[in-house]
Symmetry: C2
């Protein structure tokens, strides 16, 4: 069997699935508005571990991961659905009540209405499917396919923190609530990520970005998606990557760079900005943005500048298969 | 912990989830059209067993169960999403390829476009979340809440066949493909149900029904939902129930009546028709409709006439919890 992305390409081509292939599907809603929609399936012991989190944070994260896809399209979240398969013991424990509290705590920040979903029983693992929709002015959704040679490549926030937090959890470290240590902050990035909804919306509204993607499976993989869909190459400067400073206390510089390049679940945005619009980005003074490279012609390949050398970048982000 | 339906009522009230509580959520799309949307989560060894079906039929059924909810709203299916958590061994076996073929074989009959979804890995059980949306003229969706005292209660098709097929499968019987035996037909109802999309659409378009629901969890449970949401009672005549005739070869009359009353997954429609519109139903000569009772005042309760006695009907349909 081939990889996850090959399989999706295969069925996309076989069944002419023209809406598949971006962070969200985009479908016309009315003459002025497009609807974007995404689904994210989270499986216990694959995408999360119950012993590392709690029902409240898991509920928040279930919504956050989908809001991040809405953010990548530059859309405003509108409604959501939640399908859950839950074990008998979790059902009896009242787990779901706290899970929904966590889910709704995110709602208050971003304004989205739960309109439906499903509850099923699961023999042994908790499975969550989070579906979120958003609105965007017709034709204005930020796609992966809009990057052009010469565009500047930006990322929001810091990279690698969530993957660093995951590594710590895997190594048996736990966070005390509200602790301000570096370890606790990394673990918080993993368990309670913040979707960049306001940034995505701002970029779309002011027509600043011509392509965008959320960094859910790692920076290198996200950048590959942009280059593939836009049919372009790129050059990224490793020294410019905004490595999460909290990584430095628990990891070597080499490990930190790897986490920032290939670690998933930061849920920051990667986007491209036409050079003539760069100055306008400064107006966004509340956002923490970093220029990390430039889009090139396809024949230039996908390159990383590191220690004075230009090497082919390899997408090493997360894939289920 | 309380029951599934109590839990949903609780969170519906706690978070003011006004879109929750019918076969589909109904949200405005534009000035002329409402969008309806449903999600159905199917879990291996709870909602289906891989040894009883095959990937093609499972793909068809995953779409059919959601199309049935669209049918109950009287809507026309438009787009769908499919989230799947699949085990490593199923992934390697090429299971998904045939599953999507089955899913798409249903598409050709009802016209719906797959716009997205998600693929995740599952440690041991296959989990499918099927999301389908449809369009209906604004304000015209068939709700559970529209029944009024005096309305006639109708069901489409025959009842109990799918539950009879499930009972046979549980008892070790298997179907040979294309066999025309009663057993094979019952098993086919269970593994490859037909959603009543055209009927629902017709009832809506011609304004014939004032309430509707699909019979996914059993006739008695469906009727209770209608009575609860419409704040009415009803009287159903047990002798008039369209018991699937194929049940008679494998089950006693008493068992067959129980399967028809409380067995799930027939995916027929239960709907109410104002008395003055009854004659118009005859125009639907291609549909197999049966009048089974009449809507009463709430103080009359929910009654079953059987062997000359009127008894309280108990909803004994399927619930996960």
């Amino acid at each position: 069997m081939n990889s996850e992305s090959d399989f999706i390409l295969d069925i996309k081509s076989k069944y002419s699935l023209n809406f598949v292939g971006d962070d969200c599907a985009v479908i016309p809603k009315n003459s002025e508005t497009d609807m974007v929609i995404t689904a994210d399936m989270l499986v216990e012991d694959v995408d999360f571990r119950l012993e590392w989190t709690d029902p409240f944070l898991l509920g928040r994260k279930a919504l956050s991961v989908s809001l991040s896809d809405i953010a990548a399209m530059g859309a405003t979240p509108t409604w959501a659905m939640l399908s859950i398969a839950v074990t008998e013991s979790l059902w009896e424990s009242g787990f779901l009540k706290v899970f929904y509290e966590g889910w709704h705590s995110r709602v208050h920040e971003y304004g989205v209405t739960l309109i439906g979903g499903d509850i099923s029983r699961s023999p042994d693992k908790l499975v969550i499917d989070s579906i979120v929709s958003g609105d965007v002015p017709s034709g204005n959704a930020l796609l992966r396919s809009g990057a052009r040679p010469g565009d500047l490549i930006y990322v929001s926030g810091a990279l690698g923190g969530a993957a660093g937090g995951l590594r710590l959890l895997e190594n048996g470290r736990r966070s005390e609530s509200n602790a301000a240590t570096s370890e606790s902050k990394l673990i918080k990035h993993q368990l309670d990520p913040t979707p960049q909804v306001h940034l995505g919306n701002y970029l779309q509204k002011h027509n600043l970005a011509n392509s965008a993607i959320d960094i859910s499976d790692g920076f290198s993989t996200a950048l590959f998606h942009i280059c593939e869909k836009s049919s372009v190459g790129c050059v990224v400067d490793a020294n410019s990557l905004p490595i999460d400073p909290d990584l430095m206390e628990s990891f070597t510089l080499e490990e930190a760079l790897d986490l920032a390049m290939n670690g998933g679940e930061d849920f920051q945005l990667l986007f491209t900005v036409p050079r003539e619009k760069e100055d306008l980005l400064d107006l966004l003074d509340t956002q923490n943005l970093t220029k990390v490279g430039v889009i090139a012609h396809p024949e230039d390949g996908i390159k990383l500048l590191n220690e004075g050398r230009s090497v082919d970048m390899i997408p090493k982000g997360f894939a289920h298969f």
